[in-house]
Amino acid sequence: MQFSAWEIIKQGLTGNKGWKPHWRDPEPKSAYDVIIIGGGGHGLATAFYLAKEHGITNVAVLEKGYIGGGNVGRNTTIVRANYGLPGNSEFYSHSLKLWEGMEQELNYNTMMSQRHVLNLCHSDGQRDAFTRRANTMLIQGDDAEVLSRRQVRDYAPFLNFDNERFPIRGGLLHRRGGTARHDAVAWGYARGADMRGVDIIQNCEVTGFRIEQGRIKGVETTRGFIGAGKVGMAVAGRTTQVGQMAGLRLPIESHVLQAFVTEGLKPIIPGVVTFGMGHFYLSQSDKGGLVFGGDLDFYNSYAARGNLPAVEHVMQAGMSMVPMIGKARVLRSWGGIMDMTMDGSPIIDRTPVEGLFLNGGWCYGGFKAVPGSGHVFAHLIATGNHHKASTKHLLNRFETGHVIDEETTGAQPNLH
């Protein structure tokens, strides 16, 4: 399926009845070289890079629902590389570079918009921490600018500078950060993988693994057994359950994170702005809706919907930071299931089962990681070795003490 101005005019004049599906709907074969479980952003990107970078095209992506129906369609679409710790720093830097080349690589408009990410700070200590983080980002080769209070006022005059309880002391501006169109990312990777021979099989739920003498042989699914030389799991929100089928016990708790969108407004918010006191982040979608969210609901949940105290807290934080948004009406809210690890960083590693690989525990940072995660996971599956951008996201790091705890809150997943 190709897009062009001519095609859009032609289809517009003929009732838009000639558009064709972007990918095939194949029956599963009896066996593949590689099976990826999970047809979300990470799984599709993995399949795409397996085919493109490693020439492995006898690949199936198994999705229990439909493509783009999981967390890749339920996030706040923010892309950034402003992490501070070794392990995460080089990984998100790698991922942001892939974001910048994504539209060319996929020949697909993912509406990647580097409209900046601004983190506000409200105390001298927080400003010092941001300065340190900015230096870390610069050393990593990414961009960062520390703004004074006056510079923040010039950049975003609509913020509440008269808040005595949470005064704005400055900010950390990351100009290469921004937002992208989440659904298009899933569709673009799906189309790119499909064009290279990958079978995308929807409505196919994995119900078990066939493991013989410690080696993966294939997966049991609702559409029968499918053999595989290697299997990769990328099942955000169900990592514990799928892992359990292979006998894995994981350092993960699943929590609910809510997000909100208002009615469409004229452009008023230039980029992504985050509040440094209480967790709140705000951006404006290309359709004009304000997109925002905050903290987890704090308790384990698979409900994909949250409770009102978290809603109230997000609204209060938003009103503290940008009082003018109080005039906007919230159109809808939703919750996503976050697989929270014990240190707040993801796991991309082999498992004790030979040939079975794990990509999970993305907490609430999975979207910005999509291209990087797919790229390094494909590298791990194809070569058996970790990509240099992801050598520290190991499954056994909790046992060895090499945790990557950005928030320094310890083994308390709901605080990361």
């Binding site: 308790y299 949940s301 083994a411």
Partner: protein, 84 residues
Amino acid sequence: MRLTCPLCGPRDVREFSYRGDAVLTDRPTTPEGFHDYVHIRENPAGPHDELWHHGAGCGGWLKVRRDTVTHEVLSVALAREARS
């Protein structure tokens, strides 16, 4: 969501803080068990035993059995009594 504190009665969830899986009340007796104790969770989709602290109420630690898919609270007991 409300929790019925055994001492205070039905109270709004905002009065409570969440601590996590109730496995935390079973401290291991050997050093080897501590990795599991600190890091590994069953994380069930369904009934889940968990610890809540009634910080804005009686200050008691509660062991709550709650369905993580529906948020239905199945039982609440004082953690101390639930253990013994």
